[in-house]
């Protein structure tokens, strides 16, 4: 077994780690999503007065697409324009669900109106919920990058690195996937979402392992709250 493989053994599915850094407890998880174990770990810490990163509010802000983009825009980050609709999207576009059951990890790049109808039917549960869409200009490309504590190791574009660092500073999520829209060499943020440990490249796992090994503390379960 190589040294890298040994480090990867930390990253079992659903593992949660805590990293003490900058007077805060950083909760590292492959899934900070609302009502997940990691989310409730953050909520419990907040209620115990522990300075926890990310906060429960930051998690929700990051993973609800329009809020993520509005907040990032106000912080000076280039973001994709978005609209909300129930039935119609101007194509080509990227479509995200916007409801209790949706996740920004699931997005649809739609080129034509017929495909859009099928996708919209799916993400809105036949018109029951609204959805969020972002118009794609001609020649635009979708770029997915992974951030490990604000670092991007699998994309060497300095603009991408700078944007992801700013996004990390804003939302403080240790591990996330970002969907960017690239047009003529310029990038705009489309969404953020969780990323599974199993989807990390070897270099990303190595970097995460470095953070965890140098500063990590094993996650300890708290007691149930009984009154």
């Amino acid at each position: 077994m190589t040294a890298h493989e040994k480090k990867d053994r930390f990253l079992k599915e659903d593992s949660i780690f805590t990293v003490s850094m900058d007077d805060s407890m950083h909760i590292v998880s492959e899934n900070h999503f609302y009502k997940s174990e990691a989310y409730y770990t953050v909520v419990r810490n907040e209620m115990s007065g522990i300075n926890t990163v990310p906060s429960s509010g930051q998690v929700i802000e990051a993973y609800v697409v329009p809020i993520c983009l509005e907040k990032a825009k106000l912080s000076g980050i280039e973001v994709s324009d978005w609209e909300i609709s129930y039935q119609y999207a101007s194509t080509p576009c990227v479509i995200y669900g916007l409801n209790y059951f949706s996740t920004p990890s699931e997005y649809f790049v739609v080129q034509g109106e017929e495909t859009a109808k099928d996708v919209i039917k799916h993400v809105t549960n036949k018109g029951k919920y609204p959805f969020c869409y972002q118009k794609l200009a001609e020649g635009a490309n979708i770029v997915a990058v992974t951030s490990v504590f604000g670092n991007v190791v699998e994309n060497d574009d300095p603009d991408v690195a700078r944007m992801i660092t700013e996004v990390y500073r804003l939302f403080k999520i240790p591990l996330f996937s970002a969907i960017l829209i690239e047009l003529d060499g310029k990038f705009s943020l489309s969404s953020l979402g969780p990323v599974r440990y199993s989807k990390l490249t070897r270099r990303e796992k190595h970097l995460l392992g470095e953070y965890l090994q140098s500063r990590w503390a094993p996650f300890t379960e708290g007691e149930n709250q009984n009154v």
Partner: protein
């Protein structure tokens, strides 16, 4: 003159009672010299042109009402319901954490995690807290995904179903009552009080019984007739969450008033205002004339 935005959706307007309530709200604002715009999700960015936003659709951090609330908050527009209140009240785990932290009297409550869900654990809970137990999926609203478990087998079945939607669920001691008090609170002060008379077929304020929806009956109660312990519990519980608009559900027992839950975005269309005809005037005043004082968004 200021402009009040009222965030609605098709569901809000498809209900005659809700529609009447929205018109009452509009009339109150206009009588006070303000204008009113109803804003639908598709035109959400219009809310940036309002001076205050009143949300009248179902709220949840994962839905569009939260986007509206958060956008208002990010742009310093006074909003009811504010994002922090939605985030706390829409998640029963978070809500009970706030009540526990602030020493609000609630039924015996535990948060159950996936790894703790075992038959033996369930059995211990029945031994300690009696039968039945109440299980709640944290995102429950209108009493959906609130169920009684009568034995450990029943408990396991329901808990496993709820845990498909949440990694933690709520388990509570059952407290029986024929009605719930609802204390409406705005800005930390009493807004209204009523009783929700629970239909005999169920233990919830709204339930599906034999394929039919049954609703509780609403009985507005004047200030002078609110038991002091109920009023105190309602105000204390609301203040534990924030400074917005809440409906606090309370059961009155021999040993005092127990807070069952605190709701953001409380119903106002079912006769809650019977003894309180100025509910909407106070909400409009709170948003447009006072600027929703004390409402904080810790994430801004």
């Amino acid at each position: 003159m200021s402009n009040l935005g009222v965030f609605v959706n098709r569901q809000t307007l498809s209900n005659a009672e809700q529609l009447s309530a929205l018109l009452k709200c509009r009339d109150a604002a206009e009588d006070m010299g303000h204008s009113v715009d109803f804003i639908f999700p598709e035109e959400i960015k219009r809310l940036l042109k309002t001076d205050g936003l009143f949300i009248r659709t179902n709220t949840d951090p994962m839905n569009v009402a939260f986007v509206a609330s958060k956008m208002a908050s990010l742009h310093n527009i006074p909003v009811v319901d504010d994002p922090a209140s939605i985030q706390i009240c829409a998640d029963k785990v978070n809500m009970y954490y706030h009540l526990i932290k602030n020493n609000v009297k609630i039924p015996k409550t535990a948060f159950l995690k996936k790894k703790d869900l075992t038959f033996d654990h369930a059995k211990v809970m029945f031994d300690n807290w009696g039968t039945p137990l109440i299980l709640k999926e944290p995102s429950t609203c209108f009493s959906a995904r609130v169920e009684k478990a009568r034995d450990p087998t029943d408990f396991m079945k329901t808990a496993n179903r709820f845990m498909k939607l949440s990694d933690w669920i709520v388990v509570q001691q059952f407290i029986s009552s024929q009605y719930d008090w609802r204390i409406g609170v705005l800005g930390g002060e009493l807004l209204y009080a009523c009783k929700y008379i629970i239909p005999p077929e169920t233990f919830k304020i709204q339930a599906e019984v034999n394929g039919h929806l049954v609703y509780c009956k609403t009985e507005s109660v004047p200030v002078a007739k609110i038991p002091p312990s109920v009023l105190e519990a309602g105000l204390k519980a609301a203040r534990a969450i924030g400074n917005g608009l809440y409906g606090v559900d309370i059961k009155e027992c021999e040993d005092g008033a127990y807070v069952i839950e605190v709701n953001d975005n409380p119903s106002l269309e079912s006769g809650e205002d019977g003894c309180y005809p100025k509910i909407y005037n106070r909400i409009v005043e709170f948003l447009l004339e006072k600027g929703a004082p004390g409402i904080k968004d810790a994430n801004n």
